[in-house]
């Protein structure tokens, strides 16, 4: 198996200005296979963003105590790593943050998308091609000359995605990238992620607290209080309604409905996650009773 990220016995505690330690992650063991789409779910404070920041070296030994190791693209990022290697890893692991406003550097859309490749010293002719390609990939072609502050939140976030894509990363981490968006913006970003996954050349990790944003992933990891609480396919995770409720996480409404029906003894099939599945299961259920 080709793992792009390997996390072994990882624990992390933040160090505050007084030198006091605040544990954030405890004994995490996870591997991320190349080309897969993983959703990490959890409440605020579950440690999901901390994990992302450690992978991308935004958090280092200077910020707290690290136990165990994270290996990205074959290099251990939690140990002694040369500046050149660190830079290389950071360019290979792209990251889309929460606040769209704080990721856009340039005064026009095209220059913002070009920012990453410019830093890498890519030839301008090549950059131009990349900008065109990536704006198309996120459905923002035609906005090349627009000023970022005139775009909607969802559009800004798509520009941020294009900017990360332009670095041609091997893995992209979406750190609560939809949290500040309206339903339209959220849907557009989810569609973009789906499109990227279908292209298949990039590993995707999304960090979210919206259940319905995790149902399309290959794999769902639930973090709770700094530990891996659940790990499996969306079907495996979301059908464990009680377990999720015990940590106050929601399940999709459709799943919840069929779970209730099952508990009442009225239904005994598998629990559906998606709207269409639910409707079909409902029809089957009612038809079977009629007979």
């Amino acid at each position: 198996m080709d793992n792009i990220i390997e996390i072994k016995d990882l624990s992390f505690s933040y160090k505050d200005s007084d030198g006091k330690l605040h544990p954030a992650l405890h004994n995490i063991n996870l591997n991320f296979e190349r080309g897969t789409y993983t959703a990490i779910l959890g409440h605020n404070g579950s440690g999901k963003s901390t994990l992302a920041k450690l992978i991308n070296m935004v958090l280092t030994r200077e910020d707290g105590d690290i136990d165990g190791s994270i290996t990205v693209c074959g290099k251990e990022v939690t140990g002694d790593i040369s500046d050149e290697d660190a830079y290389d890893i950071q360019c290979r692991i792209g990251m889309v943050h929460q606040n769209p406003d704080n990721q856009i550097v340039a005064t026009t859309v095209e220059e913002d998308v070009a920012f990453g490749p410019e830093n890498l010293g890519v030839d301008p002719v090549e950059i131009r091609k990349t900008v065109t390609e990536m704006l198309k990939a996120v459905g923002m072609e035609g906005h090349e000359k627009s000023a970022p502050h005139r775009l909607s939140g969802g559009q800004k976030q798509r520009i941020a995605v294009a900017g990360v894509l332009a670095m041609r990363p091997e893995c992209i981490i979406f750190d609560e990238s939809t949290a500040m968006l309206d339903p339209q913006g959220r849907e557009a970003i989810m569609k973009t992620i789906d499109g990227l996954h279908k292209r298949g050349d990039v590993t995707i990790i999304t960090i979210t607290h919206y259940m319905n944003e995790a149902t399309d992933a290959d794999r769902v990891i639930v973090l709770n209080k700094g530990e891996v609480f659940m790990d499996g396919t969306p079907e495996q995770i979301f059908t464990q309604v009680e377990t999720l409720h015990s940590v106050r996480l929601d399940v999709p409404q459709v799943t919840e409905l069929f779970y209730k029906l099952k508990k009442a003894g009225a239904y005994d099939g598998g629990l559906p996650l998606h709207t269409e599945e639910g409707a079909a299961a409902l029809k089957r259920l009612l038809d079977s009773k009629k007979r």
Binding site: Q90, G94, H97, Q103, T107, P117, E118, N119, I127, G163
Partner: protein, 278 residues
């Protein structure tokens, strides 16, 4: 909304003036400023006035806009004109009433000063602010300062700071407006009360705004690092400024205009049997 306020008065367009390279524009403006201060003869002033008129017409900017732009300096204009008229004591005495004495040179100096200011404001604002966006202007300044980078001046960093500032001005303006409204809704009074009270009211805007700016800065820094930023070294640029042949022509014309002013300075003539020497 506040974010719709035009920054620096830029009017998008595609006129001959709009299309000049920003670096050339800055140099041309500097040359014209020198010319305006070098001009001494009446005919040189007439020439410059005509020149600025041509630039203005070529730019496609409306007369109304220009007048609006001149409004803030009306007071200076009137003050300097009056000052010249009443306090110049050379040339021929034209008019005397008690202590008020008006000399011929007073009139001439006033007119020249008037033209000087008008030409100065018109050319700089048409060339640099009306037809050049702040972004392009920043690029232009960076381009001109590039030779200094060889001497160790952090030209690139300076340009990036400028461009990030431009990027965030609308964002921060919008936030200021929002915070002010939010505090107003909590009963903050920005317009009445003692000085102390008003200062406190402003604090209610300033503190959150500062906190917000700091947050922007930290998050942006993270995002920039994630996108491979590590200073200006080895960076390329998507939009390289192109110095076209036409830009050379414009520069040559500006240089010719400056030379023209020096030549025209040597021609003077007199009006009304030598009462006025221009």
């Amino acid at each position: 909304m506040i974010r719709d306020i035009t920054l620096g008065q830029y009017f998008p367009g595609n006129s001959l003036i709009h299309r000049i390279d920003a670096r050339a524009k800055i140099i041309i403006t500097l040359i014209l400023i020198v010319a305006v201060f070098a001009a001494s003869s009446g005919i040189a002033f007439a020439f410059l006035f005509l020149l600025s008129l041509i630039i203005f017409i070529l730019s496609g900017i409306s007369f109304k806009t220009l007048i609006k732009g001149l409004k803030p300096i009306v007071f200076i204009l009137i003050f300097t004109t009056i000052f010249q008229i009443f306090f110049t004591r050379t040339g021929n005495l034209l008019f005397e009433w008690y202590f008020i004495k008006i000399y011929s040179n007073g009139i001439i100096f006033a007119i020249k000063m008037f033209i000087r200011i008008i030409v100065l404001i018109t050319t700089t604002s048409v060339m640099l602010s009306y037809t050049t966006s702040p972004i392009v202007l920043t690029d232009g300044i960076e381009g001109l300062m590039l030779p200094l980078a060889k001497l160790g001046v952090p030209v690139h960093d300076f340009a990036l700071v400028m461009s990030i500032a431009l990027r965030f001005i609308p964002t921060l303006l919008e936030e200021t407006e929002k915070i002010m409204s939010a505090q107003k809704a909590r009963g903050t009074d920005f317009s009445t009360g003692s000085l102390m009270k008003r200062a406190r009211a402003l604090l209610a805007v300033f503190v959150p705004l500062l906190a917000s700016a700091v947050r922007h800065a930290f998050e942006l820094a993270d995002a920039m690092i994630c996108r491979g930023y590590r200073g200006g070294k080895g960076r390329t640029k998507l939009n390289k400024m192109k110095f076209r042949f036409s830009d050379f022509i414009w520069l040559t014309l500006a240089a010719a205009a400056l030379a023209g002013v020096f030549v025209l300075n040597t021609y003077t003539f007199s009006l009304f049997n030598g009462t006025f020497v221009l």
